[in-house]
Amino acid sequence: MSKDETLGEALRRQGITRRGFLKFCAATASMMALPPSMVPAIAAALEKAMRPSVIWLSFQECTGCTESLTRSHSPTVEGLIFDTISLDYHHTLQAASGSAAEAAREAAMEENYGKYILVVDGSIPTANPGYSTIAGISNKSMLLDTAKGAAAIVAVGTCAAYGGIPKAKPNPTGAVAVSDLIKDKPIINVSGCPPIPVVITGVLAHFLTFGTIPELDALGRPKAYYGQSIHDRCYRRPFYDKGLFANTFDDEGAKKGWCLYKLGCKGPTTYNACATTKWNEGTSFPIEAGHPCLGCSEPDFWDGGGFYKALSMPTEDITRAAVYAVGAGAAAGVALGAMNRAKKARAVKTHEKVTINDLEKGADDD
């Protein structure tokens, strides 16, 4: 596909009819969380949109974000959007390697200076540049160098957006987010571990369609996808309102699909589109599969306390509290631990149900 070709021309060259294009626009509007009434405007804009150059840098990451985008079955709308961009550098996907790959990045930067979109996945180590390098270049200097000519930066995944798992305590590599290092460019945080593929491509489609970055929330995320909490959009919300909760993973509440709040669901404090966009080609999302939301699109989600501790419970200080109690000569923490161990032993003996709460408190005191 020529760089001077518009998106409409490119799709027609691929044999996609006007009907197919309208279908593509309807699905794109749905993907961008825009009202269907905007389809004609989207069609008109996409018809004339030029193919943007995209440079994708992968730093301290697991490649899950790229997997999320590329493993969707083709041809999907995400796939088509992905095919439409000029992906000039992505060291996991490109055939070239070493200095040839770096030459491609430098050529793309020079040719499209001030206009290319920089996509970053992974956090950036600052403790020692040697922790993560590409072709001998440290992640930090590659980011600073490539960001200079970018029109906008998309920080894909929680690692790039907020530091993610590499930044989890004790953060051995001194990992930081893109926004910690770059202060003079628009940054769109597309958080999630991994982010929903259509959210990644929705941001690119928004840029293609409107030539601007989407409206962002206080954490730099597009409001169209992160504007509401998982809890507010969850189909299990009516159970929360009625006070109907699952207390274990196999009790009556779990079987009836009641609210997972008491099992540690982070839906009330997590902002993402999982509850409506869903995963695996729109099949379901974690809560629909019976598991609480882990809150993966929020900053410091890995250090936010136990995944199975309810939000209203103390999250990270249970062990410390017990230590302080013992240190102060108080027997309360010890007694609590003994009580929980006794309950666990009795439960094993009588095959009684043990709650997550019992297990976690017991484990902390063991």
Partner: protein, 140 residues
């Protein structure tokens, strides 16, 4: 190789939650208002079913309420699309699939005829050119 007897996943009964989002009735009312608007002003309404929180089973409940009418069309444009007129004339269910038959969009359209069913100007123009190219020059 002998395969162990296992229950196929498709036969497992999935329990539907007994208290749902209750979004089906409001949606039906929204469709009723859209139909009235279509009659009065000719307004075209599209509802994106993927933008609404629905519990497992509720979408089917909505589709059952709407039922099937006289028209069923299947298009092949960038993967299949099914366009079904519900038993309420003017209310259409439009489901887009990709080439692996996975749903990529699901809409309720309230209109005389969904735009996608019409022949598109650009396609008509292209068709005309192809037909002209195929016919002997004398007839052109």
């Amino acid at each position: 190789m002998h395969m162990p007897d296992v229950t196929p996943a498709m036969e497992l009964k999935v329990e539907t939650a007994d208290a749902l989002t209750c979004n089906v009735q409001p949606l039906l009312h929204e469709i009723r208002h859209a139909l009235a608007r279509l009659l009065d002003e000719g307004g075209h309404t599209v509802i994106d079913l993927r933008s609404l929180p629905l519990a497992p089973g509720e979408e089917q409940q909505l589709l059952d309420e709407l039922g099937n009418g006289e028209v069923y069309a299947r298009l092949h444009a960038l993967g299949p699309t099914e366009i079904i007129e519900s038993r309420y004339p003017g209310v259409w269910i439009v489901v887009h699939y990709n080439s692996s038959d996975e749903v990529i969009g699901k809409f309720i359209e309230v209109c005389d005829i969904p735009n996608l069913l019409r022949s598109q100007q650009a396609d008509i123009q292209q068709g005309l050119e192809q037909l002209q190219a195929q016919l002997p020059a004398a007839i052109n």
